[in-house]
Symmetry: C2
Subunit: 303 residues, 2 copies
């Protein structure tokens, strides 16, 4: 599981900071989370093979999370995409995008599916053999969801030398990885635990932006490995956070602490602050470890 | 009159090339022409005082000319704009923008006016004491207009030493600049031509993008000082130009020649070509002088 931050600043795109967008890679699958203006340029800049993106998750319909989507969809068409694309986001997103494509008489020539969200309760919105994705209902000035990505357990890891020692034929290796006992020396069944070991633990990643400080999140986020939680403000401006329905870095840390997550990643910084290190300082008083998102930064969650 | 090219490439924004947008300054007034994705970042990068933009002219509703508009309008709100903003563009532009603002519950707190265009004949769409703007109906895959900006003649230039020599009191200087004869020595009327000279000739600028080669344009563009005409392709790909309703550099030059314009500026380059100098070469066989638009390039039309 690997996260590439394309943009992590609040409000408007500027010459050297970008609004929210992230690419999450899970076992070879690419998921795009939010898509502020300029996201397609960031995808090129950081050499993401973006034709491989199959699913895009939009948290809410504020410009800094969403205005780059129609351009990306159009660019996929220009690049000759043929594989299908799925968009998950608040109700209204389909009309906003399709109206613009229609005005430009620029329909996609690949299948484009919208999955509009309205529920205020967590729901599983995508699942395949490798991952399950559920919504994290948030509270902001408009209807907003975070997204929780949970890897599914992988195959057991074959200990090749043990398998050979027990006389297991190669043709049974895949079956052994699935957890079965398999024939060995003299066709005697070999107990699976003798020739395999537990798979890497499945990873989980939660994206929570934008939201007011929401203590109830801790229940759904319990034990998540990596939590990205917005921190638009520092504690000294908590009145602004409350007023605009954003969070402070300390509030993000409180969620991380109460949910016992593995690591907290901060982002969605207001550009009023000259140095983002202040966000880490604000959060680390309450919870550690804390990492700072930065445009272009890659987090390898398997290391 | 001064033109700042913010972006001049066709199709999609890339790391180092930007889709169409230009700022035209006429006697202190800023006009934005087209607004591809990333325009607001380009405005910041090239230090345009963009709060001063009062009127935005959109040629057509393809993404590379229009997808940056909603973000710019939103940013104006975040920056606390209070002066009114006027948008000129094809019918449908109002709904596309207002729907997105509504979805984000992000109405502007400054007056925003849309002037939707439908006519296929040239029409004057804005006029004040300094400039008149008319549409240039073009032919592309969707309804498209170019825009023709004509400065109005300025005041006559006062020759101060002659005015003093003729005993004209300072309080009459403004009246003299307006072309009147004014009292001089002994209250005798002084003929205006003795103390003033002709004003600088008013400049005109025509923006034509996107369009198929359209010979009828030469009538409306006759004698224009500066013509920006799209040149998506080189002559070797004129079949692609016809197919996609774009022009070649040579076709742009043919328009410039037939309309006897002062100078041709090329732009809207397909990114298939590694070196834009080829566009100048293609055009200069037919017409000179030719200039190449480049992202960030400034043309001072008064020099």
């Amino acid at each position: 599981m690997k996260l590439t931050v394309l943009g992590c600043y609040a409000a408007t795109p500027r010459a050297f900071t970008n609004p929210t967008s992230q690419v999450l890679e899970i076992k070879g699958q690419l998921f795009l989370i939010d898509c502020g203006e300029g996201t397609q340029v960031q995808l090129r800049r950081f050499k993401v093979k973006f034709s491989r993106i199959e699913r895009i998750f939009i948290s809410h319909l504020h410009g800094d999370h969403f205005y780059g989507l129609v351009g990306l969809i159009s660019t996929f068409r220009l690049l000759g995409r043929d594989r299908e694309l799925h968009i998950y986001g608040p109700k209204g997103i389909k009309e906003a995008i399709t109206m613009q494509l229609k005005l430009g008489d620029s329909w996609t020539n690949y299948p484009l599916y919208f999955h509009e969200l309205e529920s205020k309760k967590p729901q599983v919105i995508f699942e395949n053999s490798k991952v399950v994705v559920e919504t994290i209902p948030l509270e902001h000035r408009v209807y907003t969801n975070g997204y929780l990505f949970r890897e599914k357990p992988g195959d057991r890891k074959l200990i090749v030398e043990e398998a050979v020692k027990h006389g297991v034929d190669k043709s049974y290796f895949n079956k052994a990885k699935k957890g079965f006992d398999v024939p060995g020396e003299g066709d005697e069944l070999v107990a699976n635990h003798l020739i395999t070991e537990d798979p890497d633990p499945p990873r989980s990643y939660a994206f929570c932006s934008d939201t007011i400080y929401l203590p109830r999140l801790t229940e759904q986020l319990k034990g998540v490995d990596f939590l990205y939680h917005e921190s638009t403000f520092l504690s000294e401006h908590d009145h602004l956070a409350t007023k605009t329905k954003h969070s402070t870095a300390a509030q993000a840390a409180q969620i991380a602490k109460d949910a016992s997550v593995g690591k907290l990643i901060l982002g969605h910084y207001s550009t009023r602050y000259p140095d983002i290190q202040a966000f880490a300082d604000d959060a680390e008083r309450i919870f550690q470890p804390v990492e700072l998102a930065e445009d272009g930064k890659v987090f390898d969650f398997d290391k």
